[in-house]
Symmetry: C2
Subunit: 186 residues, 2 copies
DNA sequence: CTCGAATGAGACTATTTTATCTCATTTGAG
DNA sequence: CTCAAATGAGATAAAATAGTCTCATTCGAG
């Protein structure tokens, strides 16, 4: 039982290192990933059969992390605006584990991820629709469009944090206010 | 003189084909690009010494296209809001030639592109600042942040058009209204 | 039409990355 | 401490891609 736990931890650390490196260098080779994780290439292959397997595990964990953040945000609770704010505040800190997704094209088409993608998107879509029904969010935009824009706004925020142009602690607030209020003066 | 023109046309067609294919398949090999452009690999190498050279030319043309769109938008003319609207309406149709930039990591670090990037960003930043000074745009956000969010919102819009969830003709209007007004009800 | 330049198809080589394998060393459970 | 399992380093093979070269064919200016 402990063996399994140890292995899982190791696997977890490896995925952390990989997503960290891939966020900076999306084209990193497996050898570079192994080096960055301070393990031998052979060991990497003992945990993942190949690059595809690693990327898939990485993406699955990213989606799981997002699902977790969504669950913790309790999107059904309170006003839709407050719920969206909680969601964004929960998602912004995940950048390290999710940002690499943007730069990988092979993942978008993977069938196993379509379900995970839908599972993460559905509750957010529901929240947006709830907010539209309650008059908190604009109803002249489709919920899908809003969620899609939100996704990219998140990537933009993560990148801004990553390149230092925005402080990590400010990112969530900036994102919420930009997303909800737009850049035009009201 | 005509020889040069012919060669330039051919080069132009080749770049068009490449950006078109790379938008769909960012990891396309040079052989695939050559096939897609319906030319031999050898000919591709006669126009571009290698992948780096091709990607650089592609990116430079993308920036030139953007600069052109900016110039045609006459950002200094009229209200900042109207100017921003003109800009977005000019940029949205360029997706085919620019979208691939998002999926390439090697370009971000290329020194020759830093200047082009700055050249395209400067007039847009100036427009945002003008709008902030005139009270049209929010002044509690930095112009850099606004432009950065706008960049990603554009990529999001291009992708939505590309995957069919938004009609090409609606994209610009949607983007302008989302960007300026946000998703919250005012 | 004619000729030189440009092209395409594909053989071929070089380079890079992935994946496998061996074996000495390390690790940690008991 | 002891031993079986896990690891790391590197050799090696395999695969994919990049890049070069040759030569017969096509193209287009004049």
């Amino acid at each position: 039982m402990q063996e399994t736990t140890l292995k899982d931890n190791r696997r977890h650390d490896l995925l952390n290192a990989a997503s960290e490196l891939l966020a900076q260098k999306p084209a990193a080779s497996l050898a570079e990933i192994a080096d960055y994780a301070k393990i031998g290439k052979a060991t990497l292959h003992r945990y993942f059969t190949g690059r595809d397997d690693l990327m898939l595990a990485l993406a699955q964990r990213a989606f799981a992390t997002i699902e977790d953040a969504i669950a913790k945000s309790e999107l059904e609770r309170g006003g839709a605006t407050e719920a969206l704010t909680r969601l964004i505040e929960a998602l912004v800190p995940l950048g390290d584990k999710v940002y690499f997704l943007l730069n990988d094209s092979t993942l978008a088409e993977h069938p196993d991820l379509a379900a995970a993608d839908h599972a993460t998107r559905a509750p957010v879509l529901a929240l947006i629709r709830r907010g539209q029904a309650s008059g908190e969010f604009r109803a002249d935009l489709t919920a899908e469009w809003i969620v899609h824009q939100m996704d990219y706004a998140l990537f933009a925020a993560w990148q801004a944090v990553y390149d230092g142009s925005v402080a990590r602690k400010d990112a969530a607030r900036l994102l919420v206010t930009t997303l909800l209020g737009g850049v035009g003066m009201r």
